[in-house]
Symmetry: C2
Subunit: 501 residues, 2 copies
Amino acid sequence: MPPLQPASITALRTQSEPLSFAIAPAISSDAFKSAHTRDLPHAKRWDDHWSIESRGFEGSALKRSAIQPSDRKVISLGTGRPTADYYPWDSMTTESMPPTLAANGLNYGSGIGSPHLLRFVTEHVEMMHQPRYSDWAVCLSCGSTSALDIIYRIFCNRGDTILTECYTYPGAVEGAGLQGIQVQGVCMDSEGLHPDGLDDILRNWDTSLASKPRVLYTIPTGQNPTGVTQSVARREQIYQIAETHDLIIIEDDPYYYLRLGMQSDDKPDGQGNGGDSVLTAIDRFQAQAVPSYLSIDRSGRVVRLDSTSKILAPGLRAGWVTASSQVINKFVAYQEVSTLGINGPTQLMLWKLLDETWGHEGFLLWLSDLSRRYQSRRDILLRACEKYLPRGLVSWNCPQYGMFLWLELDYRQHPLLRHHTTIQSDVKTFLVQVESRIVLKALEHGVQVTKGSLFSPSPECRRMLYIRLTYAAAPALDLSEGVKLLSDVLREEFSLEADMV
Amino acid sequence: MPPLQPASITALRTQSEPLSFAIAPAISSDAFKSAHTRDLPHAKRWDDHWSIESRGFEGSALKRSAIQPSDRKVISLGTGRPTADYYPWDSMTTESMPPTLAANGLNYGSGIGSPHLLRFVTEHVEMMHQPRYSDWAVCLSCGSTSALDIIYRIFCNRGDTILTECYTYPGAVEGAGLQGIQVQGVCMDSEGLHPDGLDDILRNWDTSLASKPRVLYTIPTGQNPTGVTQSVARREQIYQIAETHDLIIIEDDPYYYLRLGMQSDDKPDGQGNGGDSVLTAIDRFQAQAVPSYLSIDRSGRVVRLDSTSKILAPGLRAGWVTASSQVINKFVAYQEVSTLGINGPTQLMLWKLLDETWGHEGFLLWLSDLSRRYQSRRDILLRACEKYLPRGLVSWNCPQYGMFLWLELDYRQHPLLRHHTTIQSDVKTFLVQVESRIVLKALEHGVQVTKGSLFSPSPECRRMLYIRLTYAAAPALDLSEGVKLLSDVLREEFSLEADMV
């Protein structure tokens, strides 16, 4: 058989299914092979060649739970993907860029980032966080998931245990699991991770069973999935416990800039503060921003992860890590033998936008404006929840930061539990079934929501029933309809009258 | 002290050193902090918090050996960075891009790559390599260094040994070392890695000391640093040994497309074949390309790494991995909890260039043309070597692929060895000193070259004296002058008459 020629590729394409334009579709290269290659024999099985680390590892459950394309309209209240309307680039051109910079963006770069972008980010970090020790440092990253993978490698061995909120970002749990790191959840209240819970675990740790945790992973602001934000006092308490027990704190803070404030019923379009002057916006941001762990840190025990995914665009795969220079030197070394650091085109786009176009003031104004837009979306979702959801069954808090609303369902009201008390003996299995049914039915009704149990690293957390909603992804006009559809499903599952609130 | 304000940042910048426009400069964020922060106390020491993996790890030696900016002109024959003249983008614009695609490039993507780019790459792989089994698959990567880090994690445990050429890419050795993987070099001849050497090591492996190697890492084409290309027969022999001993073959093949052919003294500008028609170029590429391990593979034991770094632009941080779908599924899973795969802006640039602008024919024409340009540069360098280098001392082969020329120095001619035979007892230390002196003196004279010992994973290889040159980085007009400067240094070190050839 002669080698495949360009002409036959054209024919191949015309016979194939049209390409998907969905966000992150599930695809494989199988769709693009010729009929000839599909008829060949299969590869051998390589199961006995996997490393200890990779054996049994199958990737991200949250990603598998994302909407797959279909002809039906589905309103996504499920995946925390910012709407494309909020990306600050309508078009891009590099024609006006100095040739040396363009060459740098396309040539090999430093593992730490280009001087131009690193300067802007360093200045920004100092301005926002005012670190209290001198030898902190910043490194550009390939996004916070990549950064977290490296930070785990820097601090953790197989068999170690790290501590997290008892509901947390599944990517952090899966990344740890891949490296053979155990994850233990710490109980939470309305201010997030509970200091007493943290202290209890550390004080009563049985070192004969496993070595004492040395790393705390926390999402302190607009936490994923609960939406809660740790107060200043809460952060100080947790930091003190970290000092006592010598914990590294990984501060994963992608929602830090999405400051939504209180619910504003009288400003439904979220534009009520649109007349701010430049200086007011900056002052307000600095004065009202909740202090980060980085800004509390005196010992250099905090590793802060910032990301451009929620504030500029996720496809950039960019962020920055701030920590003591000891940690950053290690981090850069890891990037040098893996990703080689942030990619050039993204770096150029960020530098051109942040430093050359916006400057520090403009960046903060963008963040203020973006926050207002998310505030407006959050308020629409909250009003829809108040209007449609059965109040006796579902409860929630108003998120002050970020993009998530966490619904707690009082599962004890489920008719099967009210009438068949024997089920109590295996509530966990029962809850898994109810949760699956709700999410599947919701999808059939045309709204995607996310199971709370996906976020639970420790089995003991799974005796509750939660649903995570996001107001980031769907068109603003669809948010209310999405909640109404979910409400119908909940009323059906819990056998509530349609008019009962 | 009040928080840092944008106005003080402007002042800070005017007081600072101007930014470096060098390629991959050595920088840290220290340069961009305010005086206030530099006066604060230091972080605590965190030495006892490093993991087993990260303890002692300090990153890439090759990167540290790269030229740092200075006011002096230095001709780089050292680092294999393609000249910016050879990047196929003069300017970029996304204004004409369909909005859905632009949104995909900026939103979260699939860990495997976008359908649009994956289709093109899958077609290209089938056309170039014609795999002999059916369930191969392709995944876009964040460049081959990142891909290699993941492939090691998929197949190797701490304490395992992998086999490589006895001189090889230091990033591959450092990445393995980081993961606690031993690297054993296999002897080479003028066709690269030697099958008998490979077979000997595997047959005589003492499993009581370490588990038998299960992975071979090879750069089969235009090998870095030696420039040699394995013949078809050589590849078949090595593949057969891999079958016998059940080795995974990592085929790292970034120079596959840079096919230079024989030295062409009568066509100094390399443009002699410029009149090829489209079909001829494709036919020639397919007919004359050396068969890859992927194309020989029947079992699915080959993991092939392709990179855009040497053929389009290194800053893209992009490439693709081809292997059995079993391996690719693992690979995608790893990307899902680390980099999340290739970044969006690069993906858009590649799709627009490869699929929308060039098509398959255009891409192959680009590669043919690029090969001709490298051929011209190689020929300039070879002619300069013939003209200037002392032939009795230095020998080399004509590289058929890639960007490297490997000079072997007959160290026994060194005056200190000729006159003081006692030094023979510690030749290795002596060679290290000679090599360092040559490279340092060359830099003082204005030319950068790379020590051969940097590429040697096994100490037993270090009883020779090699220098690696590249014709990829320096302006073509400087190549000859660079060799002349090196020649002066060699003649001085070896006390040769200036006119002795």
